[in-house]
Amino acid sequence: MSVDKDIVKRVARLARIAVSDEEAEALKGELNTILGFVEQLNEVDVTGVEPMTSVVAVEMKKRTDVVTERDQAAKIVANAPVREEHFFVVPKVVE
């Protein structure tokens, strides 16, 4: 499997990273190198092998249904690049 420039652009779009034609060209080569490198996994017989879903085999811990964090809007928006009172502000989203 190898990627062409269109695929690079589509993936960049999916990842929301603007790429120029030039960058797409360079990325195409790099991605193909990496994809070529990982190709060797096809040598491995994985028949009947369960994929790893957790590194540690323990029961998932759960929180109790108690409110521990509230009324901290000022903290939540403290680092926002643009805010209006306690709202985050973004370019208008058209539904």
Partner: protein
Amino acid sequence: MSDLTTLTIAEIRDGLAAGRFSALELTQAYLAAMEAARELNAYVVETPDKALGMAAESDARIARGEARSLEGVPLGIKDLFCTEGVHAQAASRILDGFKPVYESTVTGNLWADGAVMLGKLNMDEFAMGSSNETSCYGPVVNPWRSAGSNAPMVPGGSSGGSATAVAARLCAGATGTDTGGSIRQPAAFTGTVGIKPTYGRCSRWGIIAFASSLDQAGPLSRTVRDAAIMLKSMASVDPKDTTSVDQPVPDYEASVGQSVKGLRIGVPREYRIDGMPPEIEALWERGKAWLADAGAEMVDISLPHTKYALPAYYIVAPAEASSNLARYDGVRYGLRVPGDDIVSMYENTRAAGFGKEVKRRVMIGTYVLSAGYYDAYYLRAQKVRALIKRDFETVFADGVDAILTPATPSAAFGVAEKAVASPIEMYLNDIFTVTVNMAGLPGIAVPAGLDDKGLPLALQLIGRPFDEEMLFRTGQVIEDAAGYFVPERWW
């Protein structure tokens, strides 16, 4: 009084207790050393006021007889850790100006034990890199140089700032994180000790995520004992991290110096890779001999899926990263680059905010998870990962107590030396360390010698899950035999 910055954490503890110097004096010595070493580019932010305040508090505590386990010990913190009210940017432009309103569990543990914060340490952007050259603050310089050369060497990565700071005596110890070798490889390149604990031993809460199923925090230090002291403080059971494991933290220091007589040390044949430099081969042989001399039994073992760990890693880690880094969108924190609409705002922000290596990995991760490729890449890699883990389980079930391997396939290389190489060449740096992350096991890198150019080399010991004590025990044997390695000061 000799230079306070040469003291190990264990020596600091004794010296402070005995009143030979104050925490304030110690911190001041480090602040001076940091200032004199700016060309190494180890620190991205220095926090002298905070350090002096914390040191004064430590002196007060010591005076009251209330010293804690790391009282007054000056530490550097990798920029990946969120530290309340202080800079935390993961060495990325995208987190420009970010000051978390919270403290990571690991650093919180260290401060609760009396440690003093000197500042934030440089690293590869989002911990993606093996040479500390992907940082938005520029490369970190290794305090070690090749004999007869002034060319700057890389300290390894991603915890390159941590490794350099420890090796150059710019902190008594440092925190690092390790996703594929990011503690052990820079430790190896700088003659320092670095341990990646078992996955789940240190809380990941408040540590900026790279690849969630692989990331683990751990210490970099000058000695095995210091690593044990630091890990005891860093490790904890954290209800805020689902993957933190509910197991009491043992007194790691107690295992330092324990006999290794009768232990079975596995030597995996698959780590003898094609084209391995003879000096690495020789180093490994010396390591076996040291452990055997100390009474351990060397056992040839096989970990058949070793060679697939790195390719599987380069699917799993970028996939998780592509998702973990989706939150950097210019809305709630960090950099925002305007655009005509919301989508172009995202695209511009992320294009300007992420560096090349990060973009590359986000792209790979996005691709391997995208429709139609999931089974061929991600699912397959996770199956291979299960096989890698099974290899280790089989060996440990056969009675092997620890596994001895080289830490890296080479010593440190020059800054920009691999800039033109294919990404794969850089990735190969992690060939011996990455299996440990894939299987979630603990691994320690211990300095074991110098190469023919006078650059440090290290051996790695790999243990059973949650048996870090075995690594401190066996690691101390290597340290005892190999001695300490201190770079000559040129900066």
